[in-house]
Symmetry: D2
Subunit: 117 residues, 4 copies
Amino acid sequence: MQDRFAAITKEVLQFRDARDWKQFHDPKNLSEAICVEAAELLEKFLWKTREEGQSPSDAELNGIREEVADVMIFLICLCDVLGIDLLDAAQAKLKLNEAKYPQDRARGTSKKYTELS
Amino acid sequence: MQDRFAAITKEVLQFRDARDWKQFHDPKNLSEAICVEAAELLEKFLWKTREEGQSPSDAELNGIREEVADVMIFLICLCDVLGIDLLDAAQAKLKLNEAKYPQDRARGTSKKYTELS
Amino acid sequence: MQDRFAAITKEVLQFRDARDWKQFHDPKNLSEAICVEAAELLEKFLWKTREEGQSPSDAELNGIREEVADVMIFLICLCDVLGIDLLDAAQAKLKLNEAKYPQDRARGTSKKYTELS
Amino acid sequence: MQDRFAAITKEVLQFRDARDWKQFHDPKNLSEAICVEAAELLEKFLWKTREEGQSPSDAELNGIREEVADVMIFLICLCDVLGIDLLDAAQAKLKLNEAKYPQDRARGTSKKYTELS
């Protein structure tokens, strides 16, 4: 059985290559694309209250799902051109965050690590 | 053998829950977080040329990897609270994009689908 | 008496030119900079409730003021290199918005113009 | 003769109040809006080279002008609800930047102040 993440990564890159789009996919442009898609995701919650954001309609949830997917697709493309293993990177960052946000001091607070007492 | 994406998802959620942070993780705030992290990623390429972005130093690549990871971690958190399967969403979006960007008309151009001839 | 906006614009451009920075200020990079600064502004409100955002401490307000200023400074730089009059542009856009958001249909709703009934 | 910036500020706030929109304009939501508009501005340059960004067509320049205006309009709204004088803030930030980026060390380099030698 193939790993799910490996499978979707392969599909994304095939989609890209079938259109000869790698030529546009330098890291600077891909980071712009991730930013643009992240803002489109945020727009789904603009002017809404926290509570409204927590109970999207089916149509709204569909829209959110598409924007989440766009961010993910460009993340995969960026990691490909830079030779980054996205899941390893996330795991390594969690380790770093363990040190920056010790459980006893970070529990129940949304403060940035630079402000933890 | 456990699926890699399922494994990292589990680690992210354990990290969150060990700090009792789910209370801050409503979709509106998580989308803001994704936007903030995406912009920190973009900042790694700010003022650089396309070429400079393509050949980061080891130190720069480490910084990029951390920002990519932050975006991914918050994507996982957002998908958790909204009940979205991130990989399924990416796959479904690729299908949509197949229709919006037919290979014969999209090949070799960076035009938006609304401008394809 | 000199116009205040003309005066600050002149100061921003003098600051830039005294450092020979115009060479980095192409529109693509400046738009990235505006995005990065806008996200730093947003970060000031991240994880906060609407109410918390409405009553920042003096220290928080200082931080917000600096980020607002950074967005403004780069807007001025972008308009300079593209030959855009920022205040004229804002005025022209208000006129467009008058048509997109007629008072009788837009009053008291945060809906996008494409969704106004 | 009225100050130009004061005049456009007045128009923006009248536009807002004629639609009873101040109720949606808390600082957190306005910062999101600035981020969303900044990303729409960035999208105008996405996939383009630096050179292409420097020579937009008339139609492209119109689009850029509208996005620049949107960022400016929401900046004005945010400053209004927080009691910030936008032009004073920009001037004060320039002063701070003078100290962070001394002319002799910052000239001709795009390095961040934390990396200036």
